[in-house]
Symmetry: D2
Subunit: 373 residues, 4 copies
């Protein structure tokens, strides 16, 4: 361990549901095992999920250091030959980000089904790893973040700012995962339902895959303006066009009268799915990307699936290789899709509660915590 590291790390900790987070100090790990890392946090994204966690809507262990979208600099390394997930050597001072989920490598999803995103024993920094026990520092809202040896860490290239990585957040890797299954062909018509972070990520990926036309249904207006800057051919404002039948007609008009080849749900509200199926041409693909949370049921008609010969796909979270694609995307297409511009709020550990409130009230683009100032 470096002699220059402090003995403790300040963290913003959820100690009781529906209560403000407290700033606490936890001891730094005494030593690091082989492959373990200590990261000085630069930026930790405040995700809408953090609001749900604070409200106790998910069953997670307390106390909990929140924060699952994190970039920082390596502060200490364990073992002789530290490397990132791609085999690049890691040294103190390197800028890194990492996948929040860790998989068990033993369950049937990890092994037989080759689907680690559905690992039965998945742990996630900032979500279900409590600070109650050492190594304590298991979330992004803190000066330092401990990383187990099995974490997929990525050294960030110099021409990829941390702001882009945290600005894109978990939305982009999730979208990369979903689009892997879509296997889009150039010139397919695409409708994106939703203009939030997931919708924007899906829009960027669809644009790069050759979508034409590329249509976004969402709001509010400033988000749709961003969609246009990111390359949408047509945006439909749900406030201006509140009638789904009219929205459908606009999509039909833009797609030769039959509907879109691909529709991507990035809203998270169940009723969007019923509308989305109606936007599909027969034989279309429909990707349900926005339903990470359980928002309940809605009235859906299975006859539509049969009659339209739909292919409906879901994707959950991401795997490390989706990160390699996302990071290269952010690095090389930053001019076209400036995800770093999404960051509107930067706060210290002491201001986390105000920032969480702002996120809960939809007042932010992307808010981030900068625990080291």
């Amino acid at each position: 361990m470096s002699v220059n590291l402090p003995a403790v790390s300040k963290c913003a900790v959820l100690t009781a549901f529906n209560e403000p987070l407290s700033v606490r100090e936890y001891p730094m790990p005494a030593e690091l095992g082989s492959g373990e890392l200590l990261v000085a946090v630069e930026l930790a994204g405040i995700c809408g999920t953090d609001v749900h966690l604070q409200r106790g809507e998910l069953n997670v262990p307390l106390p909990l250091v929140l924060g699952h979208e994190t970039a920082g600099r390596v502060a200490a390394v364990g073992g002789d030959d530290p490397r990132d997930w791609l085999g690049n050597p890691l040294a103190v001072g390197d800028r890194v980000s990492f996948t929040v989920g860790r998989t068990c490598r033993h369950c049937r999803y990890c092994r037989v089904y080759r689907r680690p995103s559905r690992c039965l024993n998945r742990t996630a920094y900032g979500v279900n790893l409590t600070a109650a026990r050492p190594p304590h520092l298991l979330g992004g809202y803190g000066e330092y973040h401990f990383l187990y040896a099995d974490t997929a860490v990525f050294r960030l290239p110099d021409d990829l700012p941390s702001e882009a990585v945290v600005g894109a957040g978990c939305a982009l890797v999730t979208a990369v995962h979903g689009f892997e299954n879509l296997r889009m062909q150039w010139a397919e018509s695409v409708v994106i339902q939703g203009s939030g972070p997931v919708g924007l990520a899906a829009l960027a990926l669809a644009k790069e895959a050759g979508a034409r036309p590329l249509i976004v249904i969402g709001g509010p207006r400033e988000r749709l303006e961003r969609c246009l800057r990111f390359g949408a051919d047509l945006v439909i404002d749900i406030e201006e066009v509140p009638d789904p039948a009219k929205r459908r007609q606009m999509v039909l008009d833009a797609t030769g009268g039959l509907g879109a080849d691909v529709v991507v749900e990035c809203v998270g509200m169940p009723q969007a799915v019923a509308e989305g199926w109606e936007l599909c041409r027969d034989g279309a693909k429909y990707l349900v990307l926005g339903h990470y949370g359980d928002a309940g049921t809605t009235a859906l008609n299975p006859h539509v699936i049969t009659r339209k010969e739909l292919t409906i796909l879901g994707a959950w979270g991401s795997e490390p290789q989706h990160w390699t694609v996302a990071l290269e995307f952010l690095r090389t297409r930053r001019d076209r899709y400036p995800f770093d511009e999404l960051i509107t709020h930067r706060v210290g550990l002491g201001e986390v509660n105000e920032a969480l409130d702002a996120v809960a009230r939809w007042q932010t683009g992307k808010a981030v915590v900068c625990p080291n100032g």
Copy 2:
């Protein structure tokens, strides 16, 4: 035209909705153009759809000769070199069956999307081709059936009885179409929801593809007995086990605790889909095969699609190449899957109304019309 053909053909005709069919005589065509055929009907299946047509639940033109599952013998041929869809020469006396749907070859589904099952201008014998105008004889419930030159006709091999073809009916070709998209691998676990004709066809195809275990949920008991004879490893009787949670537990117990790799919906009732998603393991494929008719909406949770990373597939009707597979299946696997045994009622044209009533009251296996006695 052969000199031996009668001048008229007796047909059972739907002349008004919710009225019994009438036996009428229509003139035989004076001559046949190149590629056109006249078929003496051996067997015409009475499909559940025919009951819906009689009740006026679909908007079809009257008068209408019903019957869209037909086998017969070539009575007259037009042109010099009549051939079936596979290029086999056709002669008077050959036994044939044929696809009921005819596609336009010009719309975007026929051309650009290569999805003729969704042709925008599809016509179907016995469904939407009225008897009001020549050539009149456009359904299976008649002594003779006229076939346009663009019909996909298949000469039946000697070792394939007409009873097997009509017994399997449109269910088998529909299932072949759906399973083409499933691309099953050997040893995948499969649940079939439904033990009617579509479920039985799906069961046979899943069995041949190596499903293990192969589970059927349905009823009544005698249908489940047939499923066991067709190779099901486990049948779950919905009357004996009316609680979906218990049925789910039985599926979990039979599939290592996680759910099935593949679930095929062959019920046609929307609520089956909600149950079906719960029977899927994460990453499973769910094929909606039974919703040919619009039975309305049900409460479905899109979060399940995301969280379970489902792939949900629909398939509508069939294309001629699915017939080539189905006919070979019936011919070579008849010992294992005796679809001809499904036929329980054989009636003449004069008894069609009684048979339709029996079908409507679920009193039949498969009922068939034998217009030529």
Copy 3:
């Protein structure tokens, strides 16, 4: 038929192998059947294949009007409601292009295998349709071109110049067909072997699909300069680096040491395939796109296919839906990939032989015939 059309059409005709083409006059068709068209040729590409045809290397019927890459204006239409392949109405004066191959719709490739590019009875304008009999005007090297009703004709949008369509020629649609099978994902590394027309088309498609890095091996230098302008990240000049082992090392250095994810053969020389397999990482896809002609055998090691777990794909010609993609690509990405700039030679019918010689001696970019001046 329009009263303004001449009675005859001048054409450049191959009357004997290894002899210069002669300019002949053929009578215009007396009338057009429903769906038939007469096109006044604007531009007819001179393809390398035409040189082979002149040399008698393919067994084609004489006399033959050469020319299978053609754009022109509709001069006369048959029938009441002429439409292009996508259903757009056609009128005299409309600018059009069309697929050169016509399929029979009856053979097993057209029907059962859904693979019309391998139709057993395919005819091709300018290749195997002789001028000996009416309608005579069956190739692009003529003032007028007759089109059968079964031709896939495309009305060209105003913002898509004929030069772009004929400049891209049959190379682009062939590449679209091949890339449909590749199903590239964003950020895959790609090597294109060959910098001729097919290589350039493949380069453009790979670039749009997100290839990174995108490497071209070819020559001469000016073609590689164009590849760089079209977006290649690295070009390897086979004259500067004649040693395949050194070229392989350059590819390995550019792809993390393991080889490329995708390699596309666009050379047409068999030995390129042996080199190409060595450029693949294990698990790569290798697309053989350049072997339209039979250039004989080469020494290949099947062990490489097994050990590297390669997927090797071939694609032949194109289908009409590949044209819809290619035309949209040319229209909307013309700024990035200016295929019209490839045209270096424009000649009249009387200069066709000199232009063919120049093509045979590799002295041209793309040469085109302008039969109407």
Copy 4:
């Protein structure tokens, strides 16, 4: 460690290339770490590869305990909760088999490309793990076999004899891997080139997938007889029909004149590939399964790949999930495909050299070593 285990294990060891194996004693491991196993070998297959290893044709470290197709009984377990790869508990006395290859989980093939069969740091029992150092017992030709904790071990069900597992050997899991990529559909026509162990395994898998017709080209006659018993519809004896053109005609005659939908190479001789491509219909899939060893180059024509639009696939070794399929296949389809009958020779450790000679002279079905008598 059990008190009943001996202090040493006798093994048949390759100590110098081109020399007979010697029977040596190695010390048993003093203790087992968590997840490690000691297995008392029942049966160890003598694979053709072992002959190549003895001859020094592969660069492997000596001394080496040969044997990479092994079944035995658990003799000792390390750790508290020993489990097999599927999570089943393991106890002393359980019968097991295991994958011979161990992957590093860190290289790009293990991680990014999700292709562990091509792990850059793969080790294989009986192939490249020397007996020079502890734990010594790293091949099947010995009384006891040591297994590292990262080995994919499978507990064998009671109704699956060890003879079936070793009789099928590495051929079956390799074929399962290859067929996973083929994604066969029911009623595809299949040609298997080769009637040895790999060919027989491919035949069984193709039969179960619904191949019709199913054709084998190979020899000698008794192997072809076995192919007929395993379900081949047609066998072509290369001694009786030495002319490839005649063999091709027989395949064409059996497949409607166009060639087979799927051709699987299981010969290992390069020239078989050239013949195999000629047996394919246009659009066919060709799986190169038999070229595990490098047998050099042959003259192949890449034009065939383009013109026929072939898809050519390779597969190397297997992954553990292919074992789960193979073991279930052997267990449930043993009546149809009695792989245990392949075993013709059973020898003790002292007779290994004679058995290896017999394998080298093609005098055996399958020979196995029974080190514990």
